[in-house]
Subunit: 249 residues, 2 copies
Amino acid sequence: MIKEIREHRSVRKFKTTPVAADVLDEILLAGTRASNTGNMQVYSMIVTTERALIDRLAPCHFNQPCAMQAPVQITFCADINRFGCWCEQRDAMPAYDNFLWFMFAAGDAMLASQNVALEAEAHGLGICYLGTAVYNAERIAEILGLPRGVVPVTTIVMGYPDGDLPPLTTRLPLEAVVHREVYRDYSVTDIDRLWAEREASPETAQLLAENDLPNLARIFTERRYTAEANIAVSRAYFEYIKKQGFFNQ
Amino acid sequence: MIKEIREHRSVRKFKTTPVAADVLDEILLAGTRASNTGNMQVYSMIVTTERALIDRLAPCHFNQPCAMQAPVQITFCADINRFGCWCEQRDAMPAYDNFLWFMFAAGDAMLASQNVALEAEAHGLGICYLGTAVYNAERIAEILGLPRGVVPVTTIVMGYPDGDLPPLTTRLPLEAVVHREVYRDYSVTDIDRLWAEREASPETAQLLAENDLPNLARIFTERRYTAEANIAVSRAYFEYIKKQGFFNQ
């Protein structure tokens, strides 16, 4: 398996060492080599390294130490603005202000981000994805000056790892996420079997003790991603993408 | 740069040689190593190799030769079904039936797909992304038997390349998609400069001659992705994700 894929883990403790400009450019260039919709590249990568900006962005990422500590923060955005500008300048009528193109643009941004993650790791850097880019997209957009047609979809923080790399995290067995030929829905026995290893792990035992809850699933629903937060963020983000012009048609 | 990232191109002509099971599993396993939301793995990969199924799926991909020819087709889906089943079986209340979790699940699927693409290439395979997974998501879902909570977001076709690899495709200059510190919106001069190379290329000259149109932008807006199709697909896909239970809250 490609070394960077096999050894990928999220790194959340970084040295203050900056990332050299040529290394960073190579990483960003790797991002652009990913497949993208119609080779239109309807995404943007905002690379933030200035202390003052990182400090302003920190609350958007709930002041997670890694977001404050990492010397580089890249906000990946769906972007129909640039392509639309080009069309208008050429007397062509852009029609990307709709949900389909939000999907394509967000997808392009995600593929680019995965190349960036792997290429960063090839240079000895560590990275962590921050889903909080979606939680506080509108505030991030204000700080980064995003125009209409541009929406944050994910953030990667990046830097040289401080201390030992964390162990690889476990995954469900391959058969949990792979369906052969067609989708096979899960029986009660399947679900028990697929989660058995994770539920029996020492990590789970520790989480249950810390959270005073009877099982791992309830840690997810009652602690990590509560219904209340899910619904509030969901509505806010959807309203925001409409406001940014992805639901005009 | 990681070899597979640097040398990635879409391959659209495949030999009939099947992909060995152990190679395919290694590729799928690479998919699962990608970062994902809360390590919840809210995506599924449907691996289709049966001739009859590939033939039924072909019209969903507009009968593109590569979709009919490739021995392996992987449909990457946003999937809150599996995690939701587990929660319900553990007396935990899942609350993922909303747009936020569609975004997270679709994002997880995209990151997994990029690892799959690169790992496939490391094994000498060629791949092509098919955005048509979104165009005909509902019909694909019927053929693959996707339950509620599962939505196709992209498809990769895969096989051993037949003939020479196509040349690498060009990209806009790095400065077109990268913004330093904050977003710098594009001036008229910027747009002209960023597209200059592509507009002046022999490929563009050939396209203009073939399409009888005055510029490349109008090939995109009037031939490749028309407003009419964009709007129709956009509405259908949005209705479909609602129907699949991603807009209950």
